[in-house]
């Protein structure tokens, strides 16, 4: 009996023991703070992430798809060939749309919000100007897009689609607010973290004004005097190559230019250049040919060393790199820049505006300055004099001549060139033999598959669900 009682005591003591241990263990469960990430970071680490992502997206998918449409590129295989044959489906731009909204715009928004709290208006202004650039590029490509209800994550998981008609004035307004903020003098603004201008406020103002000019010029069909009226106010614009807006990439594979990464590092070899551009430039003896393109690499077909482009939508397999040229050093080496806005483009816009205003002399000055700036940026100033004298190049007071030269220069930003083609019809594009749209050059891309899967109601209530390849033929608002 006694022995039993001792054993019972033992048992109760042990039970008590482990309850005590249990209670103190609760603290050991507070270990769920992520050691691999940060809950807060300074603004000067978020801005470069947004800027680099914007440049990478523009130089990557945005350029490849539009570049194949305006026949800078002639993809011969896989996705680039699909672009050239207008075989563009909702799934084609999932990555691009995701990068623009959930990376570029989200991080720009984070920069603005944090800077407002810290009272730095310059950062806010920079964020607003780049936000306007991003939304502007998106609406030019897709038409109606989520704008006012976008970027609210859990508060609104199905943002409505705004009409482009309303988005354009809002973007212009955003640029103006941005300019006001950067000139406000409140705060210190970015420094080296700004990979575009290293925080130079005068350049930001010039860039913002140039951007506003670009967007107002997009309205050439809808509001023909808008750009001209703004130009008449004599805004400060980008006039010299030292003021160009762009992101320069790096030597290391982890920092390399997006076109270089696609063409060389990924090993894909799917994209080539298009003979529409190559033949035109050769016909004009354009000295930019050796910097725009690499000559044909291998001699299997006897073309080594020549500059040859693919037929638009042509499917001759050139993985052996023996038929067609590829994009060259100027914009496709590891350290090449992705240009957001250049002095050359600004001058072309001015030339077009002056032409529409029947100011031939001002148009010619701007036209010649544009080409001179582009040559200067590419290190070809010495060849300018001979080029401008060429009969096919010399100013002849026609929109065709201005837009054709602009088309050649805008090789630096194919997505912008596509806007110009839609507005002016220059240059005449060769319809690819095999194409999905019945011979109609695309004027818009379909909404991405992710939006169709996850936000269909908003699309249905707004622009309407895409109708297979017919979607590519639709005109966006400023294109009517």
């Amino acid at each position: 009996m006694k022995l039993r009682r001792n054993k019972m005591k033992h048992t109760y003591l042990m039970a008590l023991g482990f309850v005590v241990i249990l209670a103190s263990c609760k603290k050991t469960l507070d270990i769920n703070n992520d050691p691999n990430s940060f809950t807060d970071v300074p603004v000067n680490t978020i801005l470069p992430a947004a800027e680099v992502n914007l440049a990478y997206a523009l130089g990557g998918d945005a350029s490849r798809i539009s570049g194949n449409i305006v026949q800078y590129y002639g993809g011969h295989r896989n996705q680039p060939l699909d672009y050239g044959q207008y075989n563009i489906t909702p799934a084609t731009t999932d990555n691009f749309w995701t990068n623009m909204y959930s990376v570029v715009l989200t991080n720009l928004k984070s920069v603005a919000e944090k800077s407002r709290v810290e009272g730095d208006s310059i950062y806010v202004g920079v964020s607003q100007i780049l936000t306007a650039y991003t939304f502007g590029t998106l609406t030019d490509i897709y038409g109606d897009i989520p704008f006012t209800e976008a970027l609210q994550t859990t508060t609104d998981v199905t943002p409505a689609y705004d009409k482009q008609e309303n988005i354009y004035p809002a973007i212009i307004g955003l640029i103006e607010k941005g300019i006001a903020n950067i000139k406000s003098g409140t705060g210190t603004g970015p420094a080296d973290d700004d990979v575009i201008y290293a925080g130079d406020i005068t350049n930001w103002e010039k860039f913002a004004n140039s951007l506003k000019l670009r967007y107002l010029n997009h309205l050439s069909k809808r509001q023909p005097t808008a750009a001209s009226d703004f130009l008449a106010q004599n805004p400060v614009l980008i006039t010299d190559n030292s003021e160009n807006a762009g992101v320069v990439f790096g030597e290391d594979a982890a920092n390399a230019n997006p076109i270089y990464q696609f063409d060389i590092l990924s090993g894909r070899k799917d994209n080539a250049v298009c003979n529409t551009l190559v033949d035109k430039m050769i016909a004009l003896t354009d000295p930019r040919v050796p910097v725009y393109f690499y000559p044909v690499k291998n001699d299997n077909n006897g073309f080594a060393g020549q500059y040859r482009g693919n037929d638009p939508g042509g499917d001759d397999d050139d993985s052996g790199e023996s038929l067609f040229s590829r994009e060259g050093d100027a914009y496709a080496s590891s350290t090449s820049p992705v240009m957001l806005m250049t002095a050359a483009e600004v001058q072309f816009i001015i030339a077009e505006i002056q032409f529409r205003n029947s100011n031939a002399a001002a148009a010619q000055t701007a036209y010649e300055a544009a080409i001179a700036n582009d040559f200067d940026a590419l290190g070809l100033s010495a060849d300018y004099a001979a080029y401008i004298a060429n009969a096919g190049v010399v100013f002849n007071n026609t929109l065709d001549r201005i837009m054709e030269q602009k088309w050649i220069t805008m090789f630096q930003a194919p997505f912008e060139s596509w806007v110009d083609w839609r507005r002016t019809g220059v240059p005449t594009l060769i319809i690819p033999v095999v194409n999905r749209t019945g011979g109609v050059v695309p004027r818009k891309l379909p909404y991405p598959q992710l939006e169709l899967n996850l936000n269909a109601q908003s699309i249905e209530a707004g622009p309407g669900l895409p109708d297979s390849f017919n979607e590519l033929k639709k005109h966006v608002w400023w294109d009517e």
């Binding site: 054993k7 048992t11 042990m14 482990f18 241990i21 263990c25 609760k26 050991t28 507070d30 270990i31 769920n32 050691p35 691999n36 940060f38 970071v41 978020i46 470069p48 992430a49 680099v52 992502n53 990478y56 997206a57 990557g60 295989r77 489906t89 909702p90 990555n95 995701t98 959930s102 989200t106 928004k109 984070s110 897009i145 970027l151 994550t153 859990t154 998981v157 943002p159 080296d192 030597e251 290391d252 594979a253 982890a254 997006p258 696609f262 060389i264 590092l265 990924s266 090993g267 070899k269 799917d270 397999d317 993985s319 052996g320 991405p448 992710l450 899967n453 996850l454 936000n455 297979s468």
Partner: protein, 1019 residues
């Protein structure tokens, strides 16, 4: 008054007498071999009192009276009566007869009588797993357990396999695999690199590190009720592995030496055309991926690969490249039962070379298990297992160095061995460009090595405090470090400057379990057992990666040879759970049982307010054959059982706070930019929005079943019906990117699942020399996705982000193939355009992935010392997308793509504008097949197949001299035959790894057929 007091004193006297003479008797019940009879019943004759012996046959009973007699009985044994006399110890020795009482290992490694269990448990003996040598014990479970489905990621040696029980759909995006437990300690089954991705390498799942020869038995606890005591990870089922303890013939050590050698060959290869050469538009051209060149008629063509003119002829690149793989499995074990100690020692080596040259996978393991009965009350035990695995494994999926991706479309006009893979300047010679390399280049100039050190260890101690109370404590660790090295030489297609990465994955799991067991008989009719305890589990992961993206010199796989580096990568995580639990079971006369279970758990991955969650369960079983004394020659055993249980699952680590991640920029085609960018640090808002109010996922399950055995156990049937409802699923919800995020973590998923599992055991013939036993399993599960989040109807599970992908779709069974389908009119006819091409629509639901039913049939024939074992298993219903067939057609190498090539073909459909039957012919040329390459619906097949999974013929020779006891020799085959209508591939392969998105196969590593011999000496 006086009468009452007299009566009272008489009563007291009696009581006193009884009290005075009450004493405790201990003893043991063993059979005629000396083996213990677990849970034997020991009763006092003529009274209602009795006890149940424990798992080792030991019992303690209080007796009183002058001459108590004890009766020991147990199902399957003769009954024995023994007088107690004056002794305090009585040992019974009973004779076995008929069907033994089944003892199974249940949750927490506690052995229980199967008859008292209120939930479904399937058990397998170790010999059923290791009779046919197999590198991955998980794939050995195929076809042997009703309701358990194994999907292999491919046939490469060492490649991971996924296992799901009862449909595996409780969690929409969380882990749906069961918990693996070895000797009472949970282990990691991670494979770190192969889940839900379309690229990667064939890394193994870690449960495969266990040497199947060390396994004594496996219990599969299928439903929530069976695993409620393991909490969390056990809610998907538990696979309990018990390793050999060393119990052997008394006294002498038992030594076994076994060796097997096998030959592996590919089981299924696609059907190739042998007519058309490489090229495009009927012109011969090298450098492209397609075989739409000219017909091969012995003509001369100019070949850069051959270095001049060459006569076109037909080769067989598949045969040129693939070889026979060899499997060698050698094991040595030593076990002994001494007076108070059992120990088991084993050493084993498994070596397997692949059907692909220069690739292999190996395992070397050592195990030592020991148990010691220190005193009559105290026992201790220890298990230690060290395993080293190393191998050169293939890249998988869409990686350019998946050897099968390019091997499968090498044109028949290409002389693979003749042309070689390297040019004079060291660059690659390949039939095509782009990122898919010449398969010979892949196996000679690239590799992926894995080298893993794995320690599994546990110690346990048991103390019998009182006759009805014992305590045990168990501590276990599972720790491994996997060093992986990935190398691609300069001139590799997808990495022209070369690539080298060192990746170290370290996982460490620590478990501590404390138990108290109470085993008491309240009176003659009622008894109860109670297991109560507390456990603690901690899991840690460390991952370090160092990647070089450009090499200086060719052929040197060393970081000193790297010219440019990506920033180093580091990831660490830690999580803990604490639980308290109880399992109470009442029994009435050993035929009616009622069980109540409860567990409360605290998890570190949930916010403080939702961190604690409680889940109970109740089950009952009724052995009506014992209750109603039915004629045993007709119905030898009959039981019905029913149970309800609620379980929960916690979240993944770090899902509660919003964070900034190191910034990157990419576009899906390239590696992209990784910050620091030109020396600048960059952080970006995480595109996954976390949830600070996260709650656990809940599962509620009801199951009911019956076990019946007829005709003296010649026929047995085990039937279970279950239904479960899973709510508050933690989902990383995809949201439209215009919201600014890609994913949002919410509690929202809801799925249901119901089904039946049947196991049937029939012994049609049983004579002295010959017996024939059949074992059949059948399982039918229907899962349904009920809710994802508000209006959303789809959730991505795995695959490409465009087509094809596997989604969970509302109203459908779990796992739907979403890809490009044909556009149809209201009558179901396919619409065609004016070129005669069928129209396609994106994002079409093309079929559910889940099987309609699965089953297995095993026949075992024994004739004297011969034994023949044949196992078939089958899967019927559900769909599979074969990206392999789609690609082979696009490349023009398949037989299909050569049938009717360049002839007119009218696609059976209806013109979209006229509404009339399509009459516009298309030419079946390369444009047609390019278009077919995006017409995914054409490549969705019904996933039906039957396989001859295993066959074993063995002969056992009894020698029984002083040295050698028995010799077993046998022939085995695995994956022998496949009957299916799915073309080109073994439909059991999956391209999306071991995640939740199964149902698609795209250039996956083919499965292999193995045939071999084994030899075992028992000393």
């Amino acid at each position: 008054m006086r009468k009452i007091s007299l009566l009272f004193s008489a009563f007291l006297l009696c009581g006193g007498l009884v009290f005075a003479q009450q004493r405790t008797v201990t003893g043991k019940v063993t059979d005629e071999k000396g083996d213990p009879v677990p849970f034997a019943s020991v009763k006092i004759k003529g009274s209602n009192k009795g006890v149940s012996a424990d798992v080792n046959g030991n019992f303690i009973i209080d007796v009183s009276g002058t001459d108590p007699i004890l009766i020991a009985s147990s199902q399957g044994f003769s009954t024995q009566e023994l007088p107690v006399g004056n002794s305090s110890a009585v040992n019974f020795n009973v004779k076995s007869q008929g069907q033994l009482q089944e003892v199974v290992v249940t949750a927490l490694g506690i052995k229980k009588e199967k008859k008292g269990l209120g939930y479904a448990v399937s058990d397998l003996k170790g010999s059923e797993i290791n009779r046919t040598p197999n590198q991955n014990l998980v794939t050995s479970l195929n076809g042997k357990v009703a309701g358990l489905q194994v999907v292999s990621s491919g046939g490469a040696p060492g490649q991971a396999a996924t296992v799901t029980i009862r449909g595996g759909a409780k969690s929409i995006t969380g882990n749906n695999q069961p918990l693996f437990v070895v000797d009472g300690i949970p282990i990691s089954n991670a494979n770190d690199g192969n889940s839900a991705t379309v690229t990667g390498a064939a890394t193994p799942n870690r449960a495969a590190d266990i040497n199947a020869d060390d396994i004594e038995s496996i219990s599969v606890l299928k439903g929530s009720a069976a695993s409620v005591l393991y909490g969390n990870r056990g809610s998907n089922g538990v696979i309990l592995i018990t390793t050999k303890s060393g119990k052997a013939r008394q006294g002498k050590p038992v030594v076994t030496v076994s060796s097997s050698t096998g030959f592996d060959n590919v089981l299924i290869l696609p059907d190739y055309q042998t007519t058309y050469a490489q090229g495009s538009n009927q012109n011969y051209a090298e450098g492209g991926s397609r075989s739409f060149g000219p017909e091969i008629t012995g003509q001369q063509v100019n070949s850069a690969a051959a270095g001049g003119p060459v006569t076109l002829s037909v080769h067989d690149p598949r045969k040129d490249f693939l070889k026979t793989g060899m499997t060698y499995n050698n094991n040595v074990s030593l076990s002994q039962t001494l007076d108070k100690t059992n120990f088991y020692f084993s050493a084993g080596n498994f070596k397997q070379t692949a059907i692909v040259p220069n690739q292999d996978y190996n395992r070397a393991s050592v195990r030592f298990n020991i148990t010691n009965q220190v005193s009559s009350r105290l026992s201790v035990g220890m298990n230690v297992n060290y395993t080293k695995t190393w191998g050169d494994v293939p890249y998988t999926g869409q990686d350019g160095n998946n050897p099968f991706f390019s091997l499968f479309h090498v044109p028949v006009s290409w002389d693979l061995n003749g042309y070689g893979y390297e040019k004079a300047d060291g660059s690659q010679k390949n039939f095509r460009g782009g990122s898919f390399d010449n398969p010979l280049w892949t196996v000679n100039k690239t590799f992926f090595n894995t080298n893993n050190d794995h320690i599994l260890g546990g110690a346990n101690i048991g103390y019998k405090a009182l006759s009805w109370l014992d305590f045990s404590y168990r501590l276990g660790i599972d720790q491994y470090t996997d060093n992986r090295k990935s190398f691609k030489d300069i001139f590799t297609g997808g990495n022209p400057e070369g690539f080298l990465a060192n990746d170290i994955v370290k996982r460490e799991e620590l478990t501590s379990i404390f138990l108290a067991n109470v085993n008491k008989r309240i009176n003659n009719d009622f008894g109860f057992t109670l297991t109560a305890g507390q456990d603690f589990n901690q899991q840690k992961l460390n991952n370090y990666n160092q990647t070089g993206t450009a090499l200086a010199l060719p052929g040197i796989a060393h970081m000193n040879n790297v010219k440019s580096f990506n920033p180093d990568y580091e990831y660490v995580s830690k999580r803990r759970t604490i639980g308290v639990f109880g399992d109470l079971k009442f029994d009435y006369n050993n035929y009616l049982y009622l069980g109540i279970t409860a567990r409360n758990e605290w998890s570190s991955t949930l916010p403080v307010s939702n961190r604690s969650y409680f889940y109970p369960g109740v089950n009952a079983s009724f052995v009506f054959s014992d209750a109603f004394n039915i004629n045993k020659s007709i119905l030898s055993f009959g039981k019905v059982r029913v149970g309800y249980a609620k379980t929960a699952r916690d979240a993944s680590v770090y899902q509660l706070q919003n964070v900034y991640l190191a910034a990157t920029a990419s576009d899906g085609f390239t590696s992209g930019v990784t910050f620091p960018f030109l020396g600048l640090p960059g952080y970006a808002v995480n595109t996954t929005v976390n949830n600070p109010a996260l709650k656990p996922e809940i599962t509620q399950e009801i199951e009911a079943g019956t076990e019946l055995r007829f005709l003296h156990d010649r026929i047995g049937i085990d039937f279970t019906y279950f239904t479960n409802r899973n709510t508050d699923g933690i989902i990383s919800l995809d949201v439209a990117p215009s919201t600014g995020a890609s994913n949002v973590i919410v509690n929202s998923g809801r799925t249901t699942s119901q089904g039946i599992e049947v196991a049937l055991n029939v012994t049609p013939i049983k004579t002295r020399d010959f017996s024939w036993e059949m074992f059949a399993t059948f399982s039918r599960v229907r899962t349904k996705v009920k809710e994802i989040y508000k209006d959303l109807d789809k959730k991505f599970l795995g695959g490409f982000s465009g087509n094809p992908a596997i989604y969970a779709v509302i109203g459908q069974r779990y796992g739907s193939i979403i890809a490009a389908g044909y556009e149809r009119d209201d009558a179901g006819n396919i619409l065609t355009d004016d070129d005669g091409y069928p129209l396609l629509v994106d994002g079409a639901t093309l079929g559910y992935v889940e099987p309609d039913w699965t089953g297995g049939l095993r026949n075992t024939f024994t004739y004297k010392k011969f034994r023949l074992d044949v196992l078939f298993d089958t899967r019927q219903g559900g769909y599979l997308f074969s990206g392999t067939s789609e690609l082979l057609d696009n490349y023009g190498v398949s037989k299909r793509s050569a049938e009717g090539r360049y002839e007119d073909y009218i696609f059976p459909g209806v013109n979209q504008t006229t509404g009339k039957a399509n009459d516009i012919p298309v030419v079946k040329d390369q444009n047609w097949w390019s278009y077919m390459a995006i017409s995914d619906e054409a490549y969705v097949y019904k996933n039906n197949w039957v396989k001859l999974r295993e066959a074993n013929l063995s002969y056992s020779i009894d020698i029984k001299n002083s040295l050698l006891h028995t010799v077993d020799v046998g022939v085995y085959g695995r994956n022998l035959f496949l009957w299916t209508k799915v073309p080109d591939i073994d439909p059991e392969s999956s391209s999306f790894g071991t995640g939740n998105g199964q149902g698609a196969s795209r250039m996956a590593y083919p499965t292999t057929r193995s045939i071999g011999i084994n030899l075992k000496f028992t000393f």
